[in-house]
């Protein structure tokens, strides 16, 4: 069973909001994570999940399957970046580069 445009859109929208909530709660640091952020992201996620309950299970499942099919493009997208890193001749984290930069700043 294939899902309608709106059902698939709702699944994607909910995934992003739930991911935000999971990230905010799991990385919580006292006096560092804004309380309003937790409250708003929880509220939005709860509303999105509530709306998603009206979408049939088969539609959610088929949406997730098409998402995973689409994500199979990821290795192809990553390849040019990895090629660039492989071909790169710069050595940004070499200790001698740090030492040279240090001596330049000392002489200044």
């Amino acid at each position: 069973m294939s899902a309608s445009f709106l059902e698939e859109f709702a699944v994607g929208f909910t995934i992003s909001l739930v991911w935000l909530t999971i990230h905010v709660i799991s990385t919580y640091r006292r006096a560092n994570t804004p309380g309003r952020l937790i409250a708003v992201s929880l509220t939005f996620s709860a509303v999105a999940l509530y709306l998603l309950t009206s979408v049939p299970y088969e539609s959610v499942s088929s949406s997730l399957i098409s998402l995973m099919y689409f994500l199979a493009l990821a290795p192809l997208v990553a390849t040019p970046l990895l090629l660039k890193i492989t071909a790169s001749t710069s050595n940004e984290f070499d200790i001698t580069v740090f030492q040279e930069a240090d001596s330049v700043s000392d002489s200044e």
């Binding site: 098409s66 099919y69 290795p75 984290f93």
Partner: protein
């Protein structure tokens, strides 16, 4: 517990592990990220991998492309190959020190394997026939609505974060380090520089 519940729980744990992995080595949660990721992956695909039924039959069956357990396992296989391959490629390149041909070669081998699994060896009747089980860009484009939904959700998430950051009252300036703290920081920096003068 039924399979969908386990898969959702596993997916949540994988997302938690990604967030914890971004917290930096000083946080305890950073060290637990890999363990949580392993538990999450086990929950998401364990039931299908360790099931007594004929898993290969499910992988190469006619309805494999609609079997969530099979699709999820296929996804984890190429994603794992891509993650490990990318890490090895970056480690073996000149960016993080001297170039290591063996590490680079292993990394690229895994990345190419990931592309092969993702693009050619797809679940279905043509599982072991790479010329027939090839990835279709038109089928991938059928995921456009869910991708648009994810992008819209991300825009909403950024708006929520920006609003909450700007609406919070600014924190008072942090007091400077005292002598003990200054010595402590100096010792950590010196230890990490390894005696470089």
């Amino acid at each position: 517990m039924d399979a969908p519940f386990l898969r959702v729980a596993g997916g949540v744990l994988v997302l938690v592990s990604i967030s914890w992995n971004r917290m930096g080595p000083s946080d305890f949660r950073y060290r637990m990220a890999l363990v949580i990721a392993a538990i999450g992956i086990l929950l998401a695909i364990g039931r299908d991998v360790f099931s007594p039924s004929d898993f290969y039959g499910r992988f190469s069956g006619d309805d494999a492309s609609t079997d969530m357990g099979v699709i999820l396992l296929h996804f984890f296989i190429w994603a794992l190959l891509l993650v490990i391959g990318s890490m090895l490629t970056i480690r073996g390149s000149r960016v993080y020190g001297s170039i290591s041909p063996a590490t680079l070669f292993s990394g690229w081998l895994l990345v190419i394997s990931s592309i092969s699994v993702a693009m050619f060896f797809r679940p279905g009747a043509d599982l072991l026939d790479p010329m027939r089980g090839v990835f279709s860009i038109w089928d991938a484009l059928s995921a456009a609505p869910i991708v648009l939904g994810i992008i819209s959700g991300l825009i909403a998430a950024v708006a929520i974060v920006a609003w909450s950051e700007y609406s919070e009252p600014p924190l008072p300036p942090t007091p400077g380090l005292d002598d003990d703290e200054r010595l402590h920081v100096r010792k950590i920096v010196e230890d990490h520089l390894g005696g470089v003068n």
